[in-house]
């Protein structure tokens, strides 16, 4: 919490006059609210963006009415609609688990934001094992999905949950291995220091390190992270043409919205990790562009990756379960092992 405290201290010097407990509480609460606000805003924006991108990729216009300019208020209207809709819980569902599941999914997504380095100074918690933390916290989501699918007492939901569990657990491995390739070189797992190690210009970013080895690692990470957040072509847990709606078949109103929020927050988190680890975090690609503040670079890079995720989603069909496992265990995992091995060799030589 120290860098965050400093950051607030710089902004509002009077905080240092407060007693320590008060200052810490206030800073903590404000940060959480900021992040929560960001997640909600980002989700709304991303939903709008996704609808617009998909529409234009399909020669459509997408939402055009609500709010005037290109239907910018459509996601807000949708959110309000979801809020006021009737909350339906199936009669035979396990009510406690059913209610808990979306909360867990969303919490897991939100917790990941704690270690994202937005800029040199603004990082809610600069853990020395930040990367490890984010990986472990984000895999909490699978418990939520499993609970939701099980508790719905619907066979399609159960299928979705089972698929989600096997998929997310499998894809943890290539994700972790791909990141390991970088950590080996950087020698740190602190998100902040990972970025600081990449200072310089664009060629100092990790993705161009040991060219092309880390580039391949970046690619592996990106593909595996798509599976981590259940995006096409790996959206089997939802798979609306096969499993109706997968694990969230029975969810409606705000509980469904939480799953939705969680999905979009996760999209952002995996993109942000990729940005931090491979694409130089808040750093500008060239010295000349340093006048643009760090957070803008950070969010901009992450949003580019989010855009690519959407782009892929509206281009590709869905894989089958066995092909999904094949991709993970027979393609991504061996390749990431090979990269770790090669980088190790490179470093030794």
């Amino acid at each position: 919490m120290e860098p965050l405290f400093q950051f607030f201290n710089n902004l509002f010097p009077f905080i240092s006059d407060w007693p320590e407990w008060l200052a810490h509480t206030v800073v903590g609460v404000v940060t959480v609210l900021l992040l929560f606000g960001f997640v909600a805003l980002f989700a709304l924006f991303a939903i709008w963006l996704e609808r617009k991108i998909s529409a234009h990729m399909q020669d459509r216009l997408g939402p055009m009415e609500v709010g005037g300019w290109h239907g910018w208020a459509q996601p807000i209207a949708d959110a309000i609609k979801l809020l006021v809709k009737e909350d339906i819980i199936p009669a035979m569902a396990d009510r406690t688990l059913f209610k808990l599941a979306p909360v867990i999914v969303f919490t897991a997504a939100l917790a990941g934001f704690a270690v994202l380095p937005w800029s040199q100074d603004f990082i809610p918690a600069d853990l020395n094992v930040g990367l490890l933390y984010i990986l472990s916290v984000s895999s909490f989501a699978v418990i939520g999905l499993l609970m939701g699918g099980w508790a719905s007492n619907n066979k399609w939901s159960l299928y979705g949950a089972m698929r989600a569990a096997s998929q997310m657990i499998s894809y943890e491995i290539p994700v972790a291995l791909a990141l390991l390739a970088v950590i080996m070189n950087a020698g740190t797992m602190s998100m902040r220091h990972l970025v600081i190690a990449q200072s310089g210009n664009i060629l100092d970013w990790n993705v161009f390190n040991f060219f092309p080895l880390t580039a391949v690692a970046f690619f592996i990470y990106f593909v595996a992270s798509l599976a981590e957040v259940n995006r096409t072509p790996f959206d089997l847990p939802e798979g609306e043409s096969e499993l109706v709606g997968g694990f969230h078949t029975e969810y409606s109103s705000m509980r469904f919205a939480f799953f939705f929020l969680g999905e979009y927050a996760n999209m952002y988190i995996v993109s942000a990790i990729a940005t931090t680890v491979f694409l130089g975090g808040w750093l500008a690609p060239f010295e000349a562009l340093n006048f643009i503040p760090g957070p803008i670079w950070f969010v901009g890079k992450a949003m580019t990756l989010v855009f690519i995720q959407m782009w892929l989603r509206w281009t590709l069909p869905r894989l089958r379960v066995d092909q999904l496992m094949y991709t993970c265990w027979k393609v991504l995992t061996p390749f990431s092992f090979a990269i770790i091995l090669l980088i190790g060799l490179w470093k030794v030589l």
């Binding site: 998909s54 399909q58 072509p233 590709l316 869905r318």
Partner: protein, 387 residues
């Protein structure tokens, strides 16, 4: 001399006895995103693998055959529109030619050419939907909207010539309901020029996509003899490598005058008769349809297409089984007349009905996701299955 009859399934699931677990029975449909309507399939699954799939139909039964016995010959035509509502022109054509053959009625040349043009346009429109929804079943959303964009152009042409966009009631006994309006021929040619390059686009985004191929090749193989035994017809049978197209093999209207190829599945990406082959036959058939349209429009004679339409039809007593090639396969109308102004019996042999029946034979042993791919590749329209 007794040959072995074809077993229920050719694909026995081989799981060691010790690994077998309890079966799960799932009702897929009647409300399910990829059963293409109100089809219900009762699945018995072992995990993701299907042990048996039994289609349950009848949710869209509208008593076409009973209706037809209580209305006049001509009034049946709007009802045939509603059988296979995606290819109404072809349905009209089948029924009408059946009656014309019973009445021994000549149709003038211009009407014959217009019939071929609209039928082939409708075939393209129908195959476009098959393509798009198939992409949707596999999980690709975008091609669906591309094909609807192009289908819309065909519907615009239909609206101009017949006044309706979906249920045309255009082909009438003795001719067609309206002559083509001025400039329609040029518009169709324009559409052909526009459409041909679009097929490459579909191929780029869907047909040759590796994920798509992986999902569809070697899945749901229908061997030729199984297909014939189950009465599978049309693109679904041709996908199994059987060169059988009623436009060539039992020609009706003026199809024998045109030069076009019968597309058959060759197993390009996997086995002959897999879902990819059935899909590919449809893509290639659109190219052939464009060829036919061009030829028909080239030779389109001048004159009035409407002139032979009689006011009141009385069909001489007798019976006839007329079969035509619709986008889904062999559409048969078995018409019995007792010489009065109403049909005595109109039986529809609907291609989708027979194509769907093969599902129970090829489904065992595939995964749930594959079942969706198989149903999509059979290109059923429930309006026709249930009639």
């Amino acid at each position: 001399m007794k040959k072995s009859n074809i077993p229920e399934s050719q694909f026995e699931l081989q799981v060691p006895e010790s690994l077998k677990t309890e079966e799960m029975t799932i009702s897929m449909g009647p409300q399910h995103p990829s059963t293409h309507g109100v089809l219900q399939v009762i699945l018995k699954t072992d995990g993701e693998i299907i042990n048996s799939a039994k289609p349950q139909i009848g949710y869209l039964h509208r008593c076409f055959e009973k209706h037809a016995e209580n209305i006049t010959w001509h009034q049946v035509i709007p009802f045939t529109d509603r059988l296979d509502y995606i290819a109404s022109m072809n349905n009209n054509l089948g029924y009408v030619i059946g009656i014309e053959r019973m009445m021994n009625l000549e149709v003038n040349e211009r009407a014959e050419h217009l019939r071929v043009v609209v039928s082939e346009l409708n075939r393209i429109a129908s195959h476009l939907i098959a393509l798009g929804t198939y992409g949707l079943d596999i999980g690709a959303f975008t091609p669906f909207l591309y094909v609807f964009r192009d289908r819309e152009k065909i519907l615009d042409l239909f609206e101009e010539i017949s006044g309706a966009r979906l249920l045309y009631n255009y082909i009438w006994v003795g001719g067609v309901a309206y002559d083509a309006p001025e400039g329609w021929r040029e518009k169709v040619l324009e559409f052909c020029d526009y459409f041909e390059p679009k097929i490459k686009e579909y191929n780029d985004i869907l047909t040759y996509n590796k994920i798509f191929i992986e999902r569809t090749a070697n899945v749901g193989v229908i061997p030729a003899e199984v297909g014939i035994s189950y009465g599978v017809s049309g693109p679904s049978l041709r996908g199994s490598g059987v060169n059988f197209d009623l436009r060539k093999d039992d020609p009706y209207s003026i199809y024998d005058r045109f030069d076009f190829n019968v597309v058959v599945g060759k197993g390009e990406m996997g086995t002959v008769g897999d879902t990819w082959d059935r899909y590919w036959v449809r893509v290639d058939e659109m190219v052939e349809s464009v060829k036919i349209i061009r030829q028909a429009l080239e030779n389109l004679p001048e004159g009035d297409a409407k002139e032979t339409v009689p006011r009141n039809i009385k069909v001489p007593a007798g019976e006839y089984y007329m079969r035509t090639e619709t986008p889904r396969g062999e559409l048969g109308f078995y018409i019995i007349s007792d010489g009065s102004k109403m049909p005595n019996r109109v039986k529809v042999r609907s291609p989708a009905f027979c194509n769907l029946s093969v599902l129970q034979a090829i489904a065992p042993g595939v995964m749930i996701a594959d079942l969706v791919a198989i149903i999509g590749s059979l290109d059923i329209v429930l309006g026709e299955v249930d009639r």
